[in-house]
Amino acid sequence: MDKYHQQLLSAYKQAGGNLDVFKDIDMAHLMVHGNEVCSSRTIPGLQMQAKSTSEGVDLKFLMKSSFKYDAPLNVCFGLIPQDGIQKINLEGIVEDDAGIKILAFCIFPNAANITHLMKAKVRVGDNSYFDYQENHYHGTNGGVSLVPKLDIEVGKNSRFSSQFVLTKGRAGKVDIQYAVDVNEESSADLSAKIYGSGSDNIKINESIDLRGRGSRGLLKSRVVVGEQAISEVINKVIARKANCMGHIDCIETIMDSATASAYPSLKVYDSLARVTHEAAVGRLDSKQLNALMAKGLNKEQAIEVLIKGLLK
């Protein structure tokens, strides 16, 4: 095991990952440092291929029909050096009557000038599910440029959920581009929680296209920015058929000289469909701050409690 692999394991643990999953022969995992596949293991029903490229890894997975894996599949992408690039190309298929949960950690603890590009295309079959959680740690320098692009198609009577979490350390430059097409009686639930400070620049651009009758979609964003950080959230929901229901829920909280903007976009093509939104951009609620300070927390402690709550 080379020194970077060892350091990545250590950073993975610090970021909240469970090291036991890499030893357990009944659990699937994949660990990638830069363009090197450090270790991987699959389980019955899950086909996984990871191939090194000059700047990253091409990854393909297939969850076979009638197999379900909730353990979850543990994935770790990272780079230990201060500088570098990591490009991940992902193609995934969840066949009909199948399901998979993926817990991914993207870790760049020493980043000064790192670019992490993720391009993913996943097809979720009928009567299936794909739950994806992505936890990030980018160190304290703000030296990561992160561009995750995700295109998902969700079949009939299926679901896709995604949780993006980047709440510790600095965010750096973040440009999330997620697009989900949802077919009949299916759902998509996307949430992003990000904390930015310093000169961090956060952009979330997510869209859900409710194409099938009775399909449902939720876009939820919680962003807290302080100092000179910038946040921009663009949420788009399109409802094309009867009984489609969509909702956008965006709260951006600013402190210091930070700025934030929200652009909810709703488009409805059928009179029996309904899409709603709530968006709030502003400072921390003074009533909440006063209530916590009257319980003995000083202002900094009260702000910390409120931010943790918002990003929980």
Partner: protein, 241 residues
């Protein structure tokens, strides 16, 4: 009149908003372990006075002095006053996204040498721990439930001075015994209790009652007399429309 055993002494407090005095030359002295009600109609300045005592931002008096246990706290912030032993149960407690009821109640145990048992105090306020403590402090809780959580939080803090702003507001008739229980608990723990209310029934639980009108202390005395005065005078007064 300032007595030697006074826990809290307010001397000639004035709080202005533009040309108007919200609190006007207000003086009050609270002896240790007494239950004192400040009775007044809506808009009389009751809640403003509670915020001034707690040191809430934006409620620093323009004139006057506040002394707590012999210490001048006029310039101290709310969290400093809390750590000295003053607690406020808000008339309307805010909602907190991502904070459980347990998290919220635990805050009252921090920065204190003594505090009440969290589950006991929650139960006393009608909040069954298994049902409530892991719930979120969000708007799915009713106003009455949030009020009981606020009272439980105050009991856990075991303050030397407890200020209860309209303790019965939002609580249904069936649950009004909860307020009585909270007051009894505080009295038993040795707290001094200041009740801010326009409810004569709540005021009748006190050792002494003050009548606040247009931000000044209009009258003070035994509960029965002041409550009668309130009924006969304030309920027919046209000052507040």
């Amino acid at each position: 009149m300032v007595k030697e055993d006074s826990v809290l002494v307010l001397e000639r407090l004035t709080l202005s908003r533009g040309e108007k005095n919200i609190i006007d030359n207000f003086s009050l002295s609270l002896p240790q372990n007494c239950i004192y009600s400040l009775l007044g109609v809506n808009g009389a300045g009751k809640s403003s006075l509670a915020y001034i005592i707690m040191g809430v931002e934006g409620y620093r008096p323009n004139k006057g002095k506040i002394t707590f246990e012999g210490i001048d706290i006029t310039r101290k912030s709310s969290w400093q006053r809390s750590r000295l032993g003053i607690s406020l149960a808000w008339q309307e407690s805010p909602v907190f996204e991502g904070l459980s009821v347990r998290d919220y109640l635990r805050i009252s145990t921090k920065n204190r040498q003594e505090y009440g048992d969290l589950e006991y105090c929650a139960t006393l306020m009608g909040l069954e721990p298994g049902k409530y403590l892991d719930r979120n402090m969000d708007d799915k809780l009713s106003g009455g439930e949030r009020k009981r959580i606020e009272l439980a939080s105050l009991l856990i803090a075991s303050p030397k001075l407890a200020v209860l702003d309209e303790p019965d507001s939002g609580i249904d008739m069936v649950s009004k015994g909860i307020v009585r229980k909270a007051i009894n608990y505080l009295k038993h723990r040795g707290s001094t209790v200041l009740l801010i209310t326009h409810n004569e029934e709540i005021a009748s639980l006190s050792d002494r009652v003050g009548l606040i009108c247009k931000g000044y202390l209009d009258n003070e005395g035994a509960p029965k007399r002041i409550i009668e005065l309130f009924k006969n005078k304030c309920n027919h007064c046209k000052i507040y429309g």
